[in-house]
């Protein structure tokens, strides 16, 4: 899934810079989906589809899978939960030099296509990536019609 998206430009190096610029100047006026969040939102999402399913990948490391809520309501899938902070409370003996990792409550929503079957959803969590696979209805699958 990545190969087609990978560009030779240095996304990684510019990603941080872009985040900082976005914080300063706001996100440029490009049209985006009504439910999309600003870049850098937690968790990052990748979405793909196959003829039989819609696949959503949420890059949400360090979360207890039992505490991730995935709901589908009227064609909108919501992924929400909370990530605990790694920072010590008021321990004066600990100095914090970098605190870039997300902590706190998160919530992201994805509009699903109309042909999905909300009763056939599978969610798995592995290496910090939540994968939600939503089946598409049989009727939506491309069908081969035999010519008599």
């Amino acid at each position: 899934m990545f190969a087609s998206m990978t560009s030779p430009s240095m996304f990684g190096d510019f990603d941080r810079l872009r985040r900082e610029l976005d914080d300063l100047f706001g996100v440029a006026g490009l049209p985006t989906s009504i439910r999309s969040a600003a870049p850098g939102a937690f968790p990052a999402l990748n979405i793909g589809h196959t003829p039989s399913s819609v696949e959503i990948y949420a890059f949400a490391p360090g979360i207890d899978p039992a505490r991730i809520d995935v709901t589908i309501d009227r064609g909108v899938m919501t992924i929400s939960g909370e990530r605990p902070s790694a920072l010590p409370g008021d321990d004066a003996r600990v100095n914090v030099y970098a605190n870039e990792r997300f902590a706190g409550r998160f919530r992201r929503a994805v509009s699903l296509p109309e042909d999905i079957d909300p009763s056939k959803v599978e969610a798995t969590y592995r290496d910090g990536v939540l994968r939600v696979s939503v089946a598409r209805r049989e009727s939506a699958l491309p069908k081969r019609i035999t010519v008599q």
């Binding site: 899934m1 990545f2 087609s4 998206m5 990978t6 560009s7 030779p8 430009s9 240095m10 996304f11 990684g12 190096d13 990603d15 941080r16 870049p39 968790p43 990052a44 999402l45 990748n46 979405i47 793909g48 589809h49 196959t50 003829p51 399913s53 696949e55 990948y57 890059f59 949400a60 490391p61 360090g62 979360i63 790694a86 920072l87 010590p88 321990d91 003996r93 600990v94 100095n95 914090v96 030099y97 970098a98 605190n99 870039e100 990792r101 997300f102 798995t124 969590y125 592995r126 290496d127 910090g128 990536v129 994968r131």
Partner: protein, 144 residues
């Protein structure tokens, strides 16, 4: 990845434990074509005995993670892999580059040869201890 590269990495790891002068006199290894990579977000905490570094590396399995210490430089690099159905077409992607990389410079009082690493649910926890002599010590005052 071939065997030569693995051997070379182990050699470098040992180097980190030797004196700094020796490590620096080595020719810098050509690391090949640098591939584009994302910068993982980190938390860095320091206490009396060392530094704890937490890095978000979602989608990086343990065998796809490389932690490399050479002289005073620490490199974390990981390949992102997600179980993807073969016929899948990507429609939207915020994670576009399947690789994380970030480099840090260790300061002199840190002991690069005794770094401990744990990877759980896509979060790497590195513990970099301070050299014995750099750790805070309580000096006993003897009564004469």
């Amino acid at each position: 990845m071939n065997d030569t590269m693995v051997a070379e990495r182990q050699e470098n790891r040992q180097d980190a434990g030797r004196s700094e002068g020796q490590a620096q006199s080595r020719q810098p290894q050509p690391r090949g074509r640098e591939q584009p990579a994302m910068t993982p977000r980190v938390d860095v905490l320091e206490d009396g005995t060392g530094i704890t570094l937490l890095a978000d590396l979602p989608g990086v399995a343990r065998d796809a993670l490389e932690i490399h210490v050479e002289g005073d430089s620490l490199t974390i690099e990981g390949q992102v892999s997600t179980a993807t159905p073969e016929a899948m077409e990507a429609t939207y992607a915020e994670v576009r580059v399947p690789r994380f990389r970030r480099m840090f410079t260790l300061s002199r009082e840190l002991d690069g040869s005794r770094i401990e690493a744990q990877l759980k649910d896509g979060v790497l926890r590195l513990r970099i201890p301070k050299q014995e002599h750099a750790q805070p010590r309580r000096v006993q005052v003897k009564v004469s």
